[in-house]
């Protein structure tokens, strides 16, 4: 696609429910990143994928968080038993190649509110 696409753009959920956030990276981009940003704060690294594998899962805040990527394309971030502190914007980004020398493009984010 033309850019990184995320859905839903906004989600309000009740505490304790599960949510799934989707990211469609730019076609051909092998690296995919998830970040979380609380209001007025910086970006907190969650996880990145190289192809379908995730070399570093250490950023996931708890075992309620999981992410997968299939077919080297779409990724889903799942939050189980949501808590109010999970409320944040979840940003996805992708880049073309490995090695860290390429521009990373961000989606517009999914704003999650847990009530």
């Amino acid at each position: 696609g033309a850019g990184v696409s995320q859905s839903p753009s906004n989600k309000v959920t009740e505490k304790g429910k599960d949510v799934e956030l989707r990211c469609d990276p730019i076609s051909g981009h092998t690296a995919l990143y998830w970040y979380r940003q609380s209001l007025g704060q910086g970006l907190e690294f969650l996880i990145y994928f190289q192809g379908n594998s995730a070399p570093d899962k250490s950023g996931l805040p708890s075992d309620r968080f999981s992410a997968e990527r299939t077919g080297g394309s779409v990724s889903t971030l799942t939050i189980q038993r949501t808590q109010q502190e999970d409320s944040a914007v979840y940003l996805c980004a992708s880049s073309r190649e490995t090695g860290g020398g390429n521009t990373i493009y961000f989606g517009e984010g999914s704003w999650l509110t847990v009530v």
Binding site: F45, Y48, V89, G99, G100, G101, F106
Partner: protein, 109 residues
């Protein structure tokens, strides 16, 4: 976890003035990138400087990198009200990309 630390946290200037934001980091990097964010949503890539580069320009933006001090600076010259946004530095090592907390720039008309 975050890697870079920007300072100042907030900066307020008059239109036409220059704005300088600094970023310090702790580990090795392949490159360092600066991003801009409006209204808490998607980030827009501004400029990338590789670890073997010392200075780079793009329009009104000038970025420097000092790997011995593990620091970078972003200079915006002749600022405009439309430059009001949050600016983040991001360090990249292989595919690991970490952001600082950002500098909130306000340019008053």
């Amino acid at each position: 976890s975050q890697q870079g630390e920007e300072d100042p946290q907030a900066l307020s200037i008059q239109e036409g003035e220059n704005a300088t934001m600094n970023c310090s980091y702790k580990t090795s990097i392949n490159n360092l990138q600066w991003y801009r964010q409006n209204s808490g949503r998607g980030l827009v890539h501004l400029i990338l400087i590789r670890s073997n580069e010392r200075e780079k320009h793009s329009g009104r933006l000038r970025v420097t990198l000092d790997t011995s001090k593990k620091s970078s600076s972003l200079l915006i010259t002749a600022s405009r009200a439309a430059d009001t946004a949050s600016y983040f530095c991001a360090t990249v090592y292989n595919n690991d990309m970490r952001f600082g907390a950002g500098t909130r720039l306000t340019v008053k008309p």
